[in-house]
């Protein structure tokens, strides 16, 4: 006769997992007192049930279930800014992701971009040798020790068609201001922000190494970044073992400087109602809120309006932390909410300052059928337009 068996439920802490998370960089999770502020302010709460607080609690005790939500965080920093314990919550997600990658438990959509980063130094699946194609046609010069500024474009600017137009606008503006700049061309590698935030520290280190070598070889003293993600990597993440770290700025900062000096004179009127979308990595991560606005306010005829969530409360487009490579169904994207906010203030243009934001916001505009009501232009593109010759 078979003996009756009852499977008693026995769930306990798995401290080895907690230990692994701590060692991967997430030790601050011990300070969490579970107040829930992070979950209350996280922009995902507008669309679905997502609790960073629960994630931290589960990771802290190694309780099963944290694997599911590990890839949702887009690194917008709203939670970290508001956390009463000042915990770097995105870093906890990043630490868990690095462990999950070791177990081969990452979303499949990440495989292609990460593989491309490893072999070609960009996430777009394109060749290293194709990076500088756009720059050649624009006759952008390379970098020498005499060059004043290194222009560092995002991989999106270099490889993706729409964003190449943004890169071209940047070049036009810098030339108009007679700024002396150069470009690394095919020697440039992705800044590594994507790799790091999805938990692939090894690829990040490799990319960092290659870029730092180029910078030191060229004796770069000043770096101008087009993407705030690159800005953040070069300014706050990279280690420069050789010598001086370059002064790192966003392109809008040098625009604002030249507008104030008078070496940029926008004369063509831009008759548009524009709302500026603060990128997470420019605003919350690097406290740059005014330079882009100063640029937009200097453009004749441009009407600048603010969305309800702006500056420190800006709503993330959802592109960071690997978000740009995750397939989120339409109507469920963070950029969808942002587009609605822009419509809410009756803007016809969303001014962007980050290539990821451009991709995400334009994708939402298309999927929501709003192309005739709203468009995305970068601050560089708007400024370039205001600097161009008026049509006859």
């Amino acid at each position: 006769m078979a003996s009756p068996s009852v499977a008693l439920r026995c769930l306990g802490p798995a401290l080895e997992i907690a230990q692994a998370v701590t060692e991967a960089g997430g030790e601050e999770l011990r300070n969490c007192y579970q107040c829930g502020t992070c979950t209350a302010v996280c922009p995902w709460g507008n669309l679905k049930a997502f609790s960073p607080r629960t994630f931290v609690e589960m990771a802290r005790l190694g309780l099963e279930g944290f694997e599911e939500d590990a890839w949702t965080c887009v690194n917008c920093k709203t939670c970290w800014d508001r956390c009463p314990q000042q915990i770097n919550i995105p870093l906890i997600f990043q630490s868990v992701r690095s462990i999950l990658r070791e177990w081969n438990a990452q979303p499949s959509t990440m495989n292609a971009p990460l593989g491309s980063l490893r072999s070609e130094g960009n996430p777009w699946g394109e060749k290293k040798s194709a990076r500088e194609t756009w720059a050649r046609s624009a006759e952008v010069q390379g970098v020498t020790p005499a060059t004043e500024h290194l222009l560092f474009t995002c991989c999106t600017n270099d490889y993706e068609a729409r964003s190449r137009r943004d890169a071209r606008a940047v070049v036009d503006v810098l030339r108009s201001a007679a700024v002396d700049f150069g470009y690394l061309g095919n020697a440039q590698r992705c800044c590594g922000d994507l790799a790091l935030t999805v938990g692939d520290g090894a690829v990040f280190e490799k990319l960092q190494g290659a870029n730092v070598e180029q910078i030191e070889k060229a004796g770069v003293a000043s770096l101008l970044a087009v993407s705030p993600h690159c800005l953040h990597s070069f300014k706050n993440r990279y280690v420069y073992p050789g010598g001086e770290a370059p002064a790192v700025r966003h392109v809008t900062e040098i625009y604002a400087e030249h507008l104030a000096k008078g070496s940029l004179r926008p004369t063509r009127t831009i008759e548009r109602r524009v709302t500026y979308h603060d990128p997470c990595y420019l605003g919350r991560y690097n406290d740059i809120y005014d330079a882009p606005r100063d640029v937009l306010r200097a453009l004749p005829g441009l009407e600048l309006v603010e969305m309800p969530h702006h500056r420190e409360t800006s709503l993330c487009c959802g592109g960071g932390g690997g978000g740009i490579w995750i397939d989120t169904p339409k109507g469920k994207r963070l950029s969808d909410i942002r587009v609605l906010e822009a419509l809410g203030v009756e803007a016809t243009v969303i001014a962007a300052a980050c290539p990821y934001c451009v991709q995400m916001l334009e994708s939402s505009i298309v999927s929501m059928d709003l192309e005739d009501k709203l468009r995305v232009m970068t601050v560089s593109e708007l400024l370039a337009e205001a600097l161009s010759e008026a049509e006859a």
Partner: protein, 657 residues
């Protein structure tokens, strides 16, 4: 100096295992014996214990010791203990030298061999030094039987009554025109729901009428000198522009005054006149003129309404500030708190969304003498049907105030009760933890849950007026995660109350500078010991009471007021105070009047005699820090107990191999 070579007893303490688990105490004893003059050297488990002390006393008697070295903990712990041992055996207490081989050795050194080496070196230094100790004399100073109390809130009021009822003189100095403090602004108090003014005003009246209390309102302490038992305090009374002796309190001046300004007492929710009494039960119940808002002072000659209205001629527009100096034996700081008013408020819509109130503003709404006569209403005059109370706004938050203010959970629960009682509205209370530690506090929390308040565990992230559903139109929407059900909620309400914490009052910092008391990073005054001396400061004769020491509720504030008062009374009961003998003194024949030391003394103990052209040290004020002795280029100033021969011996002891 002793007539014969001193006989030294050396005692090396194990301190349980605190010292002996790291330091080889037997080795220290052995090393001690090798020093000349050591008659006795022992180690013992707890030298500070009764048998330990008896052991030393016996040795003093039987071994004819006249110096004692104790190698143990910090002198801050037991120097007095061993001084008393000596006193009991007729030895000068200054013939003891303690060596710290615990806090400065066994507790901070990892390697036992090195720790033992250090203990031996330090003990040797002490043995060599103690030979040259002198039987210093401590002085006695008399204690002036009066107390200065700074701050007229409940802490200051209670301290004043306790001292005055013991028959001693009190000077109660209050910055604003009336005593009462924050307690006068509250409506009901937790957990008893006593009316705050009803329990406070009898005490206020007692203060006003007490023969032993000199009440100085509209006044501040501007300077102080002296020492415990004998402080000279300079108090500045601002111009009131009304003669309180002539004024009969009729109020005609207030009725006729044309100028209205926001009332501080009502947190800006109502207006007062430029000539005003802060609240109906004020003590003194006489008006003062706020010169900054008064029309006469802005445009002289334009307005004389109050002067014309006053039938007894009490208005004095030519009034000026007055200083007076009083002598007291002790000082009690009771400067209170102020509510948090920092950036977190704006994050939750305060100042932008009109029905978002801070806790003190809401308290004023509830008060029957407040801007709405006690009715809880929205800005449009309607009664709210739902109210959200948000805990921990600006508290327990490293971005604002890291600490918990103790009282906010309780007053928030109180608010829930008042809202339900007065309006029947739904109450949603958003908290991280409920802190209800006092007597009957937990039962109060039970009661509030029974009354039907909805307590939701989750700190609020946002308060918004942008509706995304019909239910939310025209409402304030509170966004928080219910962490217990893992659901992010949007709760539409009519009114939001922000429960903020207690911050240090600006006056606390000002008065601390005058009194030279230390304040911590949050602005609260640092007590002598957080557990064992919560109402004393490191400055002898200066005591603390109430929220200037840290956030607390009314029961604890009253207790501290009584405690500080009893410590002041203790001084006055003894009538005299012993002042430490380790002071500096000048050898006048060597003083060249360079005056370098004059400006260096942190205790203002050094003065210069112009006639004789010599520096003089006030040995009662002197704390023996040694700064003057170190600075004197002629060697004219000596720090007693730290003479050159004592110091050099000590150094030699450390360096000897």
């Amino acid at each position: 100096m002793a007539a014969r070579a001193p006989r030294i007893g050396v005692y090396v303490c194990h301190c349980g295992v605190n010292i002996s688990s790291v330091v080889d105490v037997a080795a220290v004893v052995e090393a001690a014996f090798r020093e000349p003059g050591v008659a006795v050297a022992r180690d013992y488990k707890f030298v500070c214990s009764a048998p330990g002390q008896e052991m030393i006393e016996n040795d003093i008697a039987t071994q004819l010791l006249d110096r004692v070295v104790v190698a143990a903990c910090s002198p801050r712990m037991h120097e007095e203990t061993f001084r008393n041992v000596c006193l009991r055996r007729g030895l000068s207490p200054y013939f003891v030298q303690m060596v710290n081989i615990r806090e400065q050795d066994s507790w901070v050194t990892v390697d036992p061999a090195r720790a033992t080496e250090k203990a031996i070196a330090l003990t040797r230094a002490a043995i060599r030094r103690v030979r040259y100790h002198e039987p210093l004399i401590s002085r006695e100073v008399s204690v002036h039987p009066a107390v200065l109390i700074i701050g007229g809130g409940i802490a200051g009021i209670q301290a004043a009554l306790t001292v005055a009822d013991a028959g001693k003189q009190v000077y109660l100095v209050e910055k604003t025109p009336t005593i009462g403090g924050h307690m006068a602004r509250f409506d009901k108090t937790f957990p008893t729901l006593d009316c705050s003014a009803c329990i406070l005003t009898p005490k206020m009246n007692s203060v006003g009428a007490h023969p032993n209390i000199t009440l100085l309102t509209s006044s501040e302490l501007v300077g102080i000198s002296g020492y415990i038992g004998n402080f000279q305090a300079t108090i500045r009374t601002r111009a009131r522009y009304v003669d309180h002796d002539l004024c009969n309190g009729c109020g005609a001046c207030i009725r006729k005054c044309p100028k209205r300004v926001p009332s501080e007492f009502d947190e800006g929710l109502a207006k007062r006149k430029a000539i005003y009494v802060p609240f109906p039960q004020a003590v003194p119940n006489k008006p003062v003129i706020d010169a900054e808002s008064c029309v006469h002072f802005a445009k002289p000659g334009k307005c004389r309404a109050c002067t014309k209205a006053c039938e007894v001629g009490a208005i004095r527009l030519d009034d000026a500030p007055r200083d007076q100096t009083v002598t007291v034996g002790a000082v009690i700081m009771a400067t209170g708190f102020e509510p948090y008013r920092g950036p977190a408020l704006a994050q939750y819509g305060h100042g932008r969304l009109e029905n978002v109130y801070t806790s003190l503003e809401f308290e004023r709404l509830n008060n029957a003498a407040g801007p709405t006569e006690g009715r809880i209403v929205l800005r449009n005059g309607e009664s709210p049907r739902s109210v959200a109370i948000l805990h921990c706004i600006g508290s327990r938050d490293k971005n604002h105030q890291a600490y918990c203010s103790r009282v906010c959970c309780m007053y928030s629960l109180k608010f829930a009760h008042l809202v339900k009682e007065k309006t029947g509205a739904e109450v949603y209370q958003f908290y991280i933890d409920i802190r209800s530690p006092g007597k009957a506090y937990e039962e109060f929390y039970d009661r509030i849950r029974e009354e039907g308040a909805h307590l939701i565990r989750g700190k609020v992230g946002e308060v918004t007026d942008r509706a995304i559903s019909d239910d939310e139109k025209g409402k304030l929407v509170v966004v928080a995660e219910n962490s217990l059900t893992r659901q992010r909620l949007r709760v539409p309400v009519d009114m939001v109350i922000l429960s903020t914490g207690l911050a240090a009052a600006p006056g606390t910092l000002e008065i601390s500078k005058v009194l030279k008391c230390a304040t911590d990073k949050d602005g609260f005054v640092i007590e002598k010991h957080p557990k064992l001396a919560p109402v004393e400061t490191a400055n002898d004769g200066i005591y603390l009471a109430g929220c200037c020491q840290g956030p607390k509720d009314i029961p604890d504030t009253v207790a501290q007021g009584q405690a500080a008062a009893s410590l002041a009374l203790q001084l006055m009961a003894r009538g005299k105070v012993e002042v430490e003998g380790r002071t500096a003194r000048t050898m006048e024949e060597h003083c060249v009047a360079c005056r370098i030391c004059n400006s260096l003394c942190p205790y203002n103990a050094i003065s210069f005699d112009e006639e004789r052209r010599k520096t003089v040290v006030n040995e009662v004020l002197c704390k023996g820090c040694g700064t003057c002795a170190a600075a004197c280029p002629s060697g004219a100033v000596h720090a007693r107990h730290f003479k050159d021969e004592q110091m050099f011996c000590e150094i030699e002891g450390v360096l000897a191999s």
